[in-house]
């Protein structure tokens, strides 16, 4: 599904911030991307999302070599990926409902056709009574749930989540993680960037991609 071959990244003429990245994400897999703050977890996710181009090496995604893709092809591939940003990236002038429905709206789907599923998902993540609220009046946890719902609404083949439980209490964090696990069980490959060791310990079977000193080490999870 996603494969990095000898990928390296540098900004300008500076040193490589990531180097010799060789790994792959299998379909229907579940993994944590971890490492200390500033190690490059978010940069790794941006490479996976094709919003950054590597300065060397190749990235294959959904069977395509990313370097030769046109903008329209990248757009088509991104429609198969769900992404949860660390800073949520909700649009402040849209309601919670409109933010969550955004991926469906940009695909040109009719609002009446997706309203039921958006409402159902919003209720499931506990935002059923906040559908008409604008993001500036939402709490951090509510924003986080809205951002996650926006990523899940298209049932992506690959989900990339950057610190998705960083702004919620432990019980809600477990609930949100259960949501990711359910999504994984339904066939989605999940990559969760986090530095929360206790969270990762709850999912011992998950693979761990540990980034540090610009390099990546892969630790397979315990067999279930």
């Amino acid at each position: 599904m996603l494969r990095f071959d000898n990928v390296g990244l540098r900004y300008g003429v500076g040193p490589e911030v990531l180097r010799d990245l060789d790994f792959s994400i299998a379909p229907q897999s579940f993994q944590f991307l971890t490492g200390p703050s500033g190690a490059g977890k978010t940069t790794m996710l941006k490479l996976m999302l094709l919003s950054l181009k590597p300065t060397r090496g190749t990235i294959h995604i959904f069977g395509e070599e990313a370097g030769g893709l046109s903008k329209d092809q990248i757009t088509a591939l991104r429609r198969r990926i769900g992404v949860v940003f660390q800073d949520f990236r909700l649009l402040d002038h849209l309601t919670t409902y409109e933010n969550v429905a955004l991926p469906l709206r940009v695909r040109g789907r009719d609002e009446a056709g997706y309203r039921a599923e958006v409402v159902e998902l919003l209720r499931w993540v506990g935002l059923g009574d906040r559908m008409n609220a604008l993001p500036p009046v939402l709490s951090g946890g509510e924003k986080q749930r809205a951002a996650i719902a926006r990523a899940l609404i298209v049932r992506p083949e690959l989900l990339l989540a950057d610190e998705p439980t960083g702004n919620v209490d432990p019980s809600l964090a477990r609930r949100l993680l259960r949501l990711f696990v359910e999504l994984h069980k339904s066939g989605t490959a999940v990559v969760i960037a986090t530095h929360d060791l206790s969270l990762m310990d709850q999912f011992g079977y998950a693979r761990r991609l540990v980034v540090g000193d610009g390099q990546l080490r892969v630790f397979e999870g315990d067999p279930r």
Binding site: K71, V83, F85, P103, R123
Partner: protein, 312 residues
């Protein structure tokens, strides 16, 4: 996912029609004002050119059908007899509808406004005039009349206003060229304003554009959102400017109608027309306003595409 079957909110319970590019911003309001002013000026220019063109046609139509025969008084000649002979000769010439000879008093009355009341016109050799109305279709062929006068009334000279008409043509053409140049300048100014506004809106909406890209929006979709946004601003501005211009011409027509009762007003109406734009004129205003609104949308779309290409 949920145990209880949720009720789907009705349309009225869900806010869901917000445009992706925020509708209200200070830059957007400023652009509406700029577009309104430029549309107003463009419509005034177009309407003014139409009025001048129509007035020119009216003068041309009236003047072209009339020619003037002039008899200069000479010592020892019976001017009244010469005038009667010339009028009689002219009225029999091919293509002439009628020939009306002005009396001495009428000829003096024409000059009186320019010479003032204190001049005894009776002492001056005032030329006598005969106004000849040509039949429709014969206004451009004055040779039979000229030949008839040369043969039957050699003292008469024929003035067919051609010099004046050619000057009128030059003046009307100059007005049209000037209006077209003004119009082009306004379009360039508007394009520049829309360009600045679009780049400003793109810069302000950079995060929106990024999010739209990440959730799978194509460049054409994003450009379409900005185009719709600027088309709405353009329609609002052009609508205000066009309506103001239409109102201006309506008020001007009403004012000229009222002023026509005074002598000065009557002269202005005679020279420049009654400021009555007519249906084609108002249609031109609607067309100009609509074209400016569409141009605003199309320009913004092109600029957004260029900006998005630069981002990638």
């Amino acid at each position: 996912m949920n145990d209880a079957a949720p009720a789907i909110p009705a349309d009225s319970q869900l806010k869901r029609d917000m445009p992706l590019v925020p509708a209200n911003s200070i830059a957007g309001r400023a652009l509406v004002v700029v577009i309104a002013i430029l549309t107003f000026l463009a419509c005034l220019t177009a309407g003014g050119a139409i009025l001048v063109g129509e007035a020119s046609q009216a003068w041309r139509g009236e003047v072209a059908r009339d020619v003037t025969i002039q008899i200069k008084p000479r010592a020892g000649e019976d001017v009244d007899a010469l005038v009667a002979l010339a009028a009689e000769t002219a009225s029999r010439a091919p293509g002439v509808a009628d020939a009306i000879a002005y009396t001495k008093a009428q000829s003096e009355a024409i000059l009186a406004p320019w010479l003032g009341d204190g001049v005894d016109l009776g002492q001056l050799p005032i030329p006598r005039l005969i106004i000849v109305h040509m039949q429709p279709g014969h206004a451009d062929d004055l040779e039979p009349l000229r030949a008839a006068l040369a043969a039957g009334a050699p003292a008469a000279s024929l003035d067919d206003h051609r010099v004046w008409l050619s000057r009128l043509d030059v003046m009307a053409g100059a007005v049209v060229v000037f209006a077209a140049a003004l119009f082009a300048l306004m379009i360039v100014a508007m394009g520049t304003a829309v360009g600045f506004a679009t780049r400003g809106a793109m810069a302000g909406a950079r995060e929106i554009v990024e999010v739209l890209h990440f959730v799978g929006a194509a460049d054409s979709y994003i450009a379409g959102q900005f185009q719709g946004h600027f088309l709405r601003l353009g329609l609002r501005g052009a609508g205000i400017g066009g309506a103001a211009a239409a109102l201006f011409f309506a008020v001007a027509a009403l004012a000229s109608f009222v002023a026509r009762r005074t002598s000065a007003g009557a002269e202005i109406v005679a020279l420049f027309g009654a400021f009555q734009l007519g249906l084609p004129g108002y249609a031109a205003i609607v067309f100009v306003a609509g074209a400016i609104a569409v141009l605003t949308g199309v320009l913004s779309r092109r600029i957004v595409f260029r900006q998005l290409s630069a981002l990638s």
